[in-house]
């Protein structure tokens, strides 16, 4: 049993690991890189996602009438980055543990919040689920080789099922419909439009759509509250901002945004390439060892001082 990725992903199909189950390399590079990757994931989960989790829960649990528009957006941004860092952190840890044992699991995230359209978002978010849905649902339904009307219906079916896969609650179905609709709009005109208006505006518009999607996703089994929460997000009531927002949460939210959007720039891309580089020369090896050890100690300290914080995707 391949325990590292068993519960939440990346979704590994037998064909990908069949050979590795019989014979896989056992190199010191894989072990060192795997440990480093595990610590990066642990850091994402413990230092970012867990902090944002408390803040997101606070706002999501409040009666909508008590929320200002700023509160509602702050809470939803916290959830947006929490779910990303939680799940990407888990995937990093699974990939890292696998690598230490000689397995090469597929990547699951590729800077999804840098996407320029919802279609691109789904090529970057939970990529192994996207591939699974494509191969086992979208292509059997006819894939791209059907008339437009059928194609759009297929997209809706795939995304409604994808939403339903997350849980038997209407909000997940709505979330699937929401994304499916934007995929259809992308095919009709939206993707062309977004590519015409430039990189940063298109990333921001896509991010805005994704955040609205997360609002639908995050409020389970309570459609009236979901409707009220969405209403508060667009009420333009900036009368107050909750006193529950502390410097810690604000700093972590900004850090999460910085990391998520860094790769829009070339510098950010280069930094990410350096951090995740698998080509380990002497300096890089020493650097990642020190960084991993520090990160591991800090994460242990935070885990020690806090309660149980399960991964969000274990629920789905």
């Amino acid at each position: 049993m391949s325990f590292p990725q068993l519960i939440a992903g990346p979704i590994v199909r037998f064909g990908l690991v069949a050979r590795q189950l019989i014979s896989r390399p056992d190199t010191i590079d894989d072990k060192l890189y795997g440990f480093h990757r595990f610590c990066l994931g642990l850091g994402k989960k413990v230092l970012i996602a867990n902090v944002l989790d408390r803040q997101a829960d606070f706002f999501l649990d409040l009666p909508a009438a008590e929320l200002s528009t700023a509160d509602a957006w702050f809470g939803m941004l916290c959830f947006t980055f929490q779910i990303y860092f939680d799940f990407a952190g888990y995937s990093d840890m699974a990939i890292g543990l696998g690598r230490m044992m000689g397995f090469t699991f597929p990547e699951n995230f590729n800077n999804p919040y840098n996407s320029r359209s919802i279609s691109e978002f789904w090529q970057r978010w939970h990529m192994t689920l996207g591939t699974w849905m494509r191969d086992y649902l979208y292509i059997p339904l006819g894939g791209n080789r059907v008339k437009n009307g059928r194609l759009y219906t297929n997209l809706l079916i795939v995304f409604v099922i994808s939403g339903f896969w997350h849980g038997d609650s209407w909000n997940f179905v709505l979330w699937g419909l929401f994304h499916g609709t934007f995929l259809i709009l992308d095919r009709l005109f939206l993707e062309k439009f977004l590519h015409r208006i430039g990189k940063i505006p298109s990333v921001l518009i896509t991010f805005f759509i994704v955040v609205i999607g997360w609002a639908i996703f995050s409020i389970e089994d309570d459609l009236p509250h979901l409707s009220d929460y969405l209403g508060r997000m667009f009420a333009f009531d900036f009368s107050h901002l909750s006193t529950n927002i502390t410097t810690e949460k604000l700093v972590i939210l900004c850090l999460a945004a910085l990391i998520s959007f860094a790769c829009i720039s070339r510098l950010g891309n280069r930094i990410q390439g350096f951090i995740y580089s698998e080509k380990l020369n002497a300096t890089h090896s020493i650097g990642i060892t020190v960084a991993s050890m520090v990160l591991f100690c800090v994460c242990t300290a935070y885990v020690t001082a806090s309660g149980f914080n399960p991964f969000i995707y274990f629920r789905f």
């Binding site: 590079d29 440990f35 502390t246 700093v251 080509k279 060892t289 991993s292 300290a301």
Partner: protein, 115 residues
Amino acid sequence: MAGEKKYTGLKRILFGILLLGISVPMIQHVTEFFSVNPLSGAVQNALPAEFSLKSWMDGTYQVQSDKYLNDGFGFRPSFVRLHNQLQFSLFSIPYANGVLIGKESYLYESSYIRA
């Protein structure tokens, strides 16, 4: 790959250091080689679980062992202090029980303020 293989010896040493590093709390837990100041405060740490077939089968042994290791693994007080110090230095959050931050970052115990 040839370039990467150049530093195999160094990488083995580094990975050994990492393995040793993550094993240190467990070694300390077993040997209590270093003396660590306990945390102040009235906290009842969990006791070691007593093994029996019944406690194993009904899961109480596992739950109690989990609590015991969480409360008493090696260097736990140092990790809690590291967390509290980071929270205080980075975000001015006092995690120590009953402590408040006053003017110019002076720390006060709330019981003295109330007295």
